[in-house]
Symmetry: C2
Subunit: 146 residues, 2 copies
């Protein structure tokens, strides 16, 4: 999760909503990503999507069996669906603070209507750091507006 937090810090420095993700297979990080929506002006470029894209390229497969995804914030529905489509085994997230889509992630990952189920785990180890980064980001945005 520390690696995912480092990715989120990169996003923070680039004035993006600070969310980071890494994908791990057999104990090794195989892909990293941080949110780039503003820089790329692309609605798809969330941290998880960037990491999944890299992992598929690296493994030359759309099936990321045996892979776990660590992410600083609980995934949105798009990323939850992508995680499911990529057959990722487990998602470990640090915080769900600031998300407005609370509950939808778990609903998608555990849905019996989809071809795959992904385990969703809340890891509290870096919860405060990940949440602090997000709250600082939004606080600075609000201050700029006033």
């Amino acid at each position: 999760m520390l690696e995912a937090l480092r990715q989120a810090e990169k996003a923070f420095r680039k004035n993006e909503v600070p969310i980071g993700a890494v994908i791990v297979k057999n104990g090794r990080v195989i892909a990293r990503g941080f949110n780039k929506r503003e820089k790329t002006q692309n609605a798809l470029f969330h941290a998880e999507i960037i990491a999944i894209n890299k992992a598929c390229k690296k493994l030359k497969s759309w099936r990321l069996d045996g892979c776990d995804l660590y992410v600083t914030l609980e995934p949105c529905p798009m990323c939850s669906g992508a995680i499911c489509n990529a057959r990722i085994d487990k998602v470990i997230y640090a915080t769900s603070e600031t998300t407005s889509h609370d509950g939808l992630c778990e609903m998608i990952l555990s849905s019996t209507r989809l071809n795959h189920k992904t385990l969703l785990v809340h890891d509290e180890k870096y919860q405060q750091e990940c949440a602090y980064l997000l709250s600082e980001f939004f606080k600075s945005k609000r201050n700029k507006k006033t």
Copy 2:
């Protein structure tokens, strides 16, 4: 929708699950996509994602306000989430046959927990053609296996 069907036919010819999508703004098609998951070996490359990616690049904005997305099959959770994230106004789909995620799309697009609501419309005009293409595809896959 005929344009989306043409895209799905392209996917069929390339031995991909035949799903096509187009994005329309002010009555003009601004982006097209067809499913390329197998060719690219990438879990993200659904027709809708490819079309959204192209539309963001074309409009140089992650906000696709004023855009409608036509798609031959009711979108999966990943694509439904992406549609929401891109602030697309309306999704028009031809069929929901063969999908196992029936209901999740509407739940995501209309969720009060997200920042945006997208209208979901079922257009029956090319329903039979779009469903036939999918059933022929899966029939040919089953025949190859036996």
